[in-house]
Symmetry: C2
Subunit: 131 residues, 2 copies
DNA sequence: TTCCTTGCAAAACTTTTGCATTAAA
DNA sequence: TTTAATGCAAAAGTTTTGCAAGGAA
């Protein structure tokens, strides 16, 4: 996978650790926590520290390579899909499912307060088991 | 303010600490963190512990007296407006502004996955300063 | 009494930071 | 060689928990 290239293009020096994290996260659309990524890498035999995982995820998010989500208050989730989209969230299982933009249409949205503009729309549709 | 009554009606024993927290939060629509509430109460001369503030806020949220929000990953915000509504969020200042339901209209929403139903919709419109 | 609630301190978790060491250009 | 990134451990911030003491019914 051409992760090195993707990192260079974002002005990120492609070190071994960063390439491995990118390799996990950018291989397919997914939602992972910092600890999950650390565990995956350690399980795969990588030498990497917790600090590096957090620093790298923050760096990737800052550069727009991934997106950080706040769905439950418990921890940050990192979404490798940076194209605009929304989410289903099942609080019981913790599952997070992408909702493509065309499946949601707003026929009315409020005007932002004076001097402000809309930077983005975070939509989470909370799910519950049907009775 | 008739906070005692409101608590009893929810099956919550109206102790001194709970009544004071309800007095702050339910006096007007607002968004406060646990630490802010603790600080307000302490400044007003109340004898109350951090544990009680957290336990009480969790209890209130569980009983539907307040609503817990996850807008940024940093901490939980408690919203005294439990009627359905949405939010503007200015990440620069941290400001959180209510958006009434009628100001947003969905002309299209995705069907929930099989066996699931929609429990709620969390909409956060992120704001940025206009250039 | 009996049960619930509180306060305190400690623990648990997630995330950030300081600094010496290591790796990249 | 020069600069930036890493690892480790410690710190920081938020939230939860264990338990003795206090308060309500």
């Amino acid at each position: 996978m051409g992760c090195e290239r993707q990192l260079s293009d974002c002005g990120i020096r492609p070190t071994a650790q960063r390439v491995r994290i990118a390799g996990i996260l950018l291989s397919a659309p997914q939602h992972r926590s910092a600890e999950q990524i650390l565990a995956s890498l350690r399980a795969a035999g990588a030498r990497i520290s917790k600090a590096t995982v957090y620093n790298t995820l923050n760096l990737f998010a800052e550069r727009g390579l991934i997106r950080q989500l706040s769905v439950d208050g418990s921890r940050a989730w990192f979404d490798s899909n940076v194209a605009p989209h929304y989410h289903f969230h099942d609080e019981a299982s913790g599952a997070l499912i992408d909702v493509p933009v065309p499946e949601v249409e707003f026929s009315r949205l409020p005007d932002p307060p004076a001097g402000m503009q809309v930077a983005g729309i975070d939509l989470v549709i909370r799910l519950r088991k049907k009775l």
